[in-house]
């Protein structure tokens, strides 16, 4: 069913405006940094990249710009409960069917982080690589830029090939560039444009006769999206988190919904614990970008049917670092 999201254009405009604002602020801040650097010119100390733009490699449903130091080993446990809409009957989703991902990551060299994980829903294995390309440094770069790529494999049993015609149909790739700036000790923001590629999309024949055949593809193979996320530290170990994901590609049908998530982060020397509410129920960035059915806002479908939004769910991320 084709969805007509009335506020889609508005959200897209908002996202683009936010991105533009961030870039403008970055330019301004760069100028300020340069001035500050000139004032401090008497100190011979070499400028160092800013630290801890974010505390964890996760900001709710997205990767942050952070890449831990060489030799770090990490374990991630992520949980997404059911939507809160059923209320008391499933205790606001806490007793509904939940989705789980357990993953591990390792930094073999500086600036590179490799990950492997398994998600309960659709039995998805994912492998990821993250590389810090540029680090925010006074007088050198106003932003940090990190590349993140994730390749996932749907390993559900399909003996009759009813789900996947070819083995490669199980593969989904997600690539993004994360641009972040730490504005102060307390406040950091990042913007992440991404592209998700699916090898196979559902479709059907609209014409199949002697003159040829035409296939209608329900979705495009490449899907663009953008995410904006921010952290505000309340103390040395506690922070507020917010994350918004906006699909950009207009799909022929099955348009995915945006995601709005917000919550708290609690940190210790070796752990971070994030507790939040959001709309993404899946635990793979590509799958979320393509198939999110929970909308934070009310919207109207193509046929004029009004659909209520507010489909939030509770989730948490726990990370354990060994370094």
């Amino acid at each position: 069913m084709k969805l007509k999201i009335n506020i889609g254009k508005r959200l897209l405009t908002t996202s683009v405006c936010l991105a533009a604002c961030l870039f403008l602020m970055q330019t301004t801040a760069f100028a300020q940094d340069t001035t500050a650097a000139a004032k401090d010119a008497v100190i011979p100390a070499k400028a160092k990249p800013v630290k801890n733009t974010f505390q964890s490699i996760w900001i709710i449903d997205n990767q942050t710009v952070m890449v831990p130091v060489k030799g770090t080993f990490e374990m991630d446990i992520q949980h997404r409960f059911g939507t809160v809409n059923n209320g008391y009957s499933d205790f606001w989703g806490l007793y509904a069917s939940s989705n789980i991902r357990i993953g591990v990551d390792y930094a073999p060299i500086n600036n590179l982080y490799l990950g492997l994980g398994f998600e309960k829903y659709n039995e998805i294995w994912d492998g990821s690589a993250k590389y810090a390309l540029i680090k925010q440094t006074r007088g050198i770069s106003p932003v940090s830029i990190t590349y993140y790529g994730n390749l996932s494999l749907d390993t559900r049993k399909d003996p009759t090939n009813s789900l996947f015609t070819h083995y490669t149909d199980r593969i989904l790739s997600f690539n993004e560039i994360i641009i972040a700036r730490k504005f102060s000790d307390k406040f950091s923001v990042q913007i992440s444009p991404s592209i998700t590629h699916q090898n196979a999309v559902p479709g059907y024949l609209t014409k199949n006769d002697s003159t040829g055949r035409t296939i209608f593809e329900e979705m495009k193979h490449d899907h663009f999206a953008i995410s904006v996320a921010g952290r505000y530290k309340l103390g040395d170990a506690t922070a507020l988190l917010i994350d918004y994901d906006q699909p950009l590609t207009k799909e022929p049908t099955n348009n995915p919904n945006p995601n709005l998530s917000f919550g708290f982060e609690f940190s210790t020397s070796g752990h971070t614990f994030q507790l939040f509410m959001g709309n993404y129920s899946l635990l793979n960035p590509g799958k979320n970008a393509l198939f999110n059915t929970n909308n934070p806002f009310d919207y109207t479908q193509t046929g004029g049917t009004k659909v209520k939004g507010g489909k939030f769910l509770i989730g948490f991320n726990i990370t354990r670092l060994w370094n």
């Binding site: 160092k48 630290k51 130091v69 030799g71 770090t72 000790d185 103390g235 040395d236 170990a237 940190s267 210790t268 020397s269 070796g270 670092l321 370094n323």
Partner: protein
């Protein structure tokens, strides 16, 4: 007869209680011995001067890192009374005492960096040495006045 039996039982109980008390005390003394186990620092490290000036910025960095990495065991004010202290095999060092504060910056840096037993190594957790020096600077503010 009944009274005699009662007295006999009572003396057995006293003996058992004393034995338990003795074993607890022996464990307690063991932990005291562990607590004071010497921690030698190579002379070169002990004599390394602190390159980071204890200014406002350094102390703020040190305090922030202290609260995140150290306070759970050593306590907010460095008394060794953090919330995790009771679970450790060794009692975290009281950092406010003059015996600790008389150690050189280089010695404290070495101990934080390398770690020992329950005390983890922080050279990767706090990967910038300047930040470790800032923690040392902040530790100086914990000294009992």
């Amino acid at each position: 007869m009944k009274t005699k039996k009662h007295i006999k039982m009572k003396s057995k109980l006293t003996l058992a209680t004393s034995l338990i008390a003795l074993s607890i005390m022996s464990f307690a003394f063991t932990s005291i011995v562990q607590k004071t186990k010497p921690w030698p620092v190579p002379e070169k490290n002990a004599k390394t001067p602190n390159p980071v000036k204890a200014d406002k910025e350094s102390l703020a960095t040190g305090k922030s890192l202290w609260n995140l990495h150290c306070a759970s065991c050593h306590g907010k004010t460095g008394l060794g009374d953090g919330s995790k202290a009771a679970q450790l095999k060794t009692q975290p060092q009281d950092l406010t005492t003059s015996s600790l504060q008389s150690q050189s910056d280089g010695s404290l840096f070495y101990k934080i960096s390398e770690g020992r037993d329950d005390m983890p190594s922080f050279k990767k957790k706090i990967s910038d040495p300047e930040d470790l020096w800032s923690v040392v600077n902040y530790m100086r503010t914990l000294k009992k006045s």
